[in-house]
Symmetry: C2
Subunit: 303 residues, 2 copies
């Protein structure tokens, strides 16, 4: 299962009662943060999570509202005595930008590891899950992300016996390892059924609606997507600022066959985003507007 | 009169319900901000003030909790269509540090002007008030500030007549200008009584208690001072981390002959600072522990 928390729902600037858009997920004790604007560390605490277990921080892009909270978060992680390295993932230039910001956080008790994205589509296997990153269309280089938890097939003792797999190696094979024993090599598929449907979370902000987002959100259990503007008549403004309307986000969710859509990254001028969700629901029924800190546990579809 | 708002009372990291320590003042339509940690711009909005009229930002020092909110604030000031330059004041290295942080706020519609403090004591006349900066004693270079509003003497028409000052120049002289007319030079003292007591605000964080702070807070109408630790038995910890206890701050206020002391910059571990104010009040009666956003208007003592 994957715990997901939408820490904030704001765009551009943090507001009283509305943190900047950022997403925290937790899988197998390892947390991932996507984006870290000013105040994200407070949003994290408010939502009841800790900064201590964040092993990976992904950035969609380098506008201030998506990265300005990084130095403060790193300092707090240091103050919480973290010593394990933290992996930072983001568009090309990440290391230079982070090193600039670290002028006020020069000493940390842990190492930073950088993964800079360079291709339109990238795949990173890390901490037991897969991250897929896709370029989207903003006014600077920007990526959306999908976090994918694969799920191995069911353990089938009869298959194990058929393949003459000794019981001593079953548990390691179930963990996905290949095992050598007495000159034979055993692989997980010798004791497991076909791979089962896992869990998929997709996260996209800031962008115009483009096909790569549909790809990222394909069949997602939860698709968190920007909807900067909810009011009717904001289509041109959305185009001009390279953002989306609620309805554009809902169309992406529908085209991707996502199960559920959470809108986020609301314009500061959009005081009550809930007032405008119905129009988006006509396009994609399961569209939701939550407040900051909305959380959900995504479970495997079959037990 | 000088409006003063203590935007936050926290030290080290922003917490839910406790912003980082920063002080906003407003004199004659021009606002001054001292320190700008992560979330200060939200604290400002929460307290009902605007970032738009901030003409000067002073930094005590360059630890993250005192400057991490700067890029976000500058971006918001830009979004609010500010075009007038903003003056930044702080220890040596200010321009380099701010330029590093501006990697995520490279384009602003206004100019930044830098004043780097180099001497143990500096005086800056700006926007109708005087700033005095004094080095204090932290683990990196740190300054405390006094904001001083001078008040000219009363207008005395009989003195003006005695000095044969033509009525046509009275109003300019009252504004503090020297005026030349018909080959004579007129100065404000020719029509004004002796300078009257003005307004003084002093602000100090982070430091051990040292004599320069007493100098800064001498006769202050309001002295805002760090008290990182309130609980008994924290004296050694305060020394180790180069901070102060409530009682040490109260001693400074007493020695300076300040009128009122507001404690701030509470350790995240100090959950209810109010519980510990009584001991400090024994040392300095008018010691106060306020919540974030506490505000006061300092008035001239005589009408």
């Amino acid at each position: 299962m994957l715990d997901v928390c939408l820490l904030g729902t704001g765009g551009m600037m943090p507001l009283p009662g509305r943190w900047l858009t950022a997403c925290y997920t937790r899988f197998n004790g390892s947390a991932l943060l996507i984006d870290c604007g000013e105040g994200t560390q407070v949003a994290l605490k408010s939502a009841g999570w800790s900064c201590h277990d964040i092993d990976v921080i992904c950035f969609t892009h380098f506008h201030g509202d998506h990265i300005s909270g990084l130095p403060g978060l790193l300092l707090s992680m240091g103050n919480a005595d973290r010593t394990e390295p933290v992996t930072l993932i983001g568009p090309k230039g990440l290391e230079r930008i982070v090193n600039n910001l670290r002028v006020i956080a020069p000493e940390l008790p842990f190492r930073l590891e950088f993964i800079e994205l360079e291709n339109p589509e990238e795949t990173i296997d890390i901490n037991g899950y897969t991250l897929k990153a896709y370029t989207v269309s903003h006014n600077i280089t920007c990526y959306c992300y999908a976090q994918i938890i694969k799920r191995a097939g069911k353990f089938m003792p009869e298959k194990a016996k058929e393949n003459q797999v000794p019981m001593a190696v079953w548990s390691r094979l179930q963990k996905g390892e290949n095992v050598e024993l007495d000159g034979r090599t055993f692989s997980p598929d010798m004791i497991l059924g076909p791979e089962r449907k896992g869990i998929k979370l997709a996260y996209c902000t800031d962008s115009r609606p483009v096909p790569s987002i549909v790809k990222a959100a394909k069949g997602a259990d939860l698709f968190i997507c920007e909807g900067m503007y909810g009011e009717p008549g904001m289509e041109e403004k959305a185009k001009e600022h390279r953002h989306m309307t609620f309805i554009e986000a809902a169309s992406l969710a529908r085209n991707a066959g996502a199960k559920e859509l959470w809108l986020t990254h609301f314009s500061p001028s959009l005081v009550r985003p809930k007032d405008f969700v119905e129009q988006a629901r006509i396009v994609f029924r399961n569209t939701k507007v939550h407040k900051d800190g909305a959380a959900k546990t995504l479970e495997y579809p079959e037990k």
